[in-house]
Symmetry: C2
Subunit: 320 residues, 2 copies
């Protein structure tokens, strides 16, 4: 569909990474808070470095898992400035999609200014039942107003949260209108048939699975990898799978990874659950904090989660 | 539940209105845009005056119909400043609910600063499946951070847009915790049984129907009135019904009002449809503009809408 971005014959994460085409294992990262409930800038950068040290290919910053929409625009801009100053920007895909296009434009420009190689953009998610023309117009206005040839935009498809469907015809229109800009999509539908249909329909368009449960099948189909929340605590296992996806052990590695993900998801809501795990691991109790409308785990939930992961022989890598 | 706000025995809109307890017919008002897509401050104030001149009791400003979530925080604050300077604030219930509580707090403080008698507050609407504890915490944090005894907060229940249920136990907790602050709710569920259950459960708590289709039954149950989008073009008919709800003609008046509402809703998406009607009525073509993800009507849709309303003998009141 775009001759300058052909589908490669060896699309696994072992291909040389390029800033223009992120591939592999991306962690949709948590945002730790301070004791006063503000984004903890230093702890966020430290968490990203710890994840990168585990071998993951990059970080999705300020997405659903990062509680982006619970932060004001100014809080998000300040966090991006800090990450830029920390030398981390080159490894970030930045969530920038808001209900108001003006806010999406501000955040997208900031992501470019600090040097992030891509942005992940939710459709405006307040109104439901809007026509494809309206969603197309929202993305088009964002791209035109940002007006920067460096922009690499990933569509963020998360129907459970947005209540909106992003179907193949809309994706096709966006790729046709902005072939050098609309380069991929994060598919958080949880529906493998939907992920596969998108990978099949658009060769050269990078459809990331929104869960590591689909990492192996995505790589086998020529997809770029995954962007997932639970990788905040499961990055080493996913990195191992991505490095050895063509080996005979790949299916068993995928199965073990999926079992750990399911254990976390079954115990409690994933964002507070992973924050509780990181509080125990780092000894920093502020890691437990979330912004409303999310709720922290209560001590009994946290204990149950800890036991169920211990029963699976699970442990987190040492802090950097 | 709160002795200082008892249910009155004559709760219709003919009771003397009080700034502390808005009652009657409230228009969830449209926000006209300029030719460059900005909120048209002068035209918005003029539209509100035109509606108030038709006898409605007040305006819901910056709600769903007002495309609030498609505007940045700064755009909303500037509009509120303008409305305050225009002398309209005393007639406004201001929509202030955002995904980030910090934004909700800023807008709510501004609404109080200009002298609006109430605010209408969506729950943080990005995350779905959140527990009642999280929604309670979001409202509680908003109220505590605003920290102003003048605050009169209406919960905004619009499950189709938010994907969140606000059930009776959550409302009961909020009233119990903040009896002088959490004084009512706008119920846009479209479900009469749900509206009736709320009116019945909480005497003295002002449950407004989110549609004029339920105006008569709401008044008969002792409810305060309605807050509705389609009243941008149907205010006189609703005002007439509210003034004569105890008359023998009330049912027929309700039926005619409901038929007009259904004709508009059936023809096209209501926000662009009403904007098109006002463009024709005022001769200002900029009235047609909406922000993405909404789409303006195409000329054929506009023509069909115009014909179907003409067939019902419908006409708008003259411009002020």
């Amino acid at each position: 569909m775009n001759a300058s971005r052909p589908s490669t014959s060896s699309p696994g994460p072992s291909s040389a990474p390029s800033p223009a085409r992120p591939r592999g294992v991306f962690v949709a990262a948590l945002t730790p808070l301070t004791s006063t409930g503000d984004p903890d800038l230093e702890a966020t950068a430290a968490h990203y470095r710890w994840l990168l040290d585990q071998g993951c290919d990059g970080i999705v910053c300020l997405g659903t898992t990062g509680e982006a929409n619970s932060f004001t625009l100014d809080e998000r801009l300040a966090l991006l400035d800090h990450l830029g100053a920390s030398g981390l920007a080159g490894r970030l895909i930045v969530g920038t999609g808001c209900c108001a296009i003006g806010d999406t434009v501000r955040l997208t420009r900031k992501a470019l200014e600090i040097g992030a190689p891509g942005v992940l953009v939710l459709p405006p998610f307040y109104y439901k039942g809007v026509p494809d023309d309206g969603l197309f117009a929202a993305y088009a206005e964002t791209i035109e107003r940002v007006g920067d040839a460096r922009l690499r935009l990933y569509i963020y498809h998360f129907p459970k949260m947005t209540g909106l469907d992003i179907g193949l015809p809309l994706i096709e229109r966006l790729i046709a209108a902005y072939p050098d800009t609309v380069v991929g999509l994060k598919n958080s539908s949880g529906d493998w048939d939907n992920i596969r249909a998108m990978i099949d329909a658009f060769p050269g368009f990078d459809v990331f699975a929104g869960s590591e449960e689909f990492l192996l099948p995505t790589l086998r189909l020529g997809g770029p990898g995954c962007m997932s929340a639970t990788l905040n605590v499961l990055a080493p296992q996913a990195v191992e799978l991505a490095a050895n996806w063509q080996s005979p052990e790949a299916e068993a590695t995928q199965e073990r990874l999926s079992a750990l993900r399911r254990a976390i998801s079954a115990a409690a809501a994933p964002i507070p659950a992973m924050k509780a795990m990181l509080a125990r691991h780092t000894g920093r109790s502020t890691w437990r904090a979330v912004r409303p409308p999310l709720c922290p785990l209560d001590p009994a939930q946290e204990e149950r989660l800890s036991h169920s992961l211990a029963a699976l022989g699970f442990d987190l890598p040492a802090a950097a």
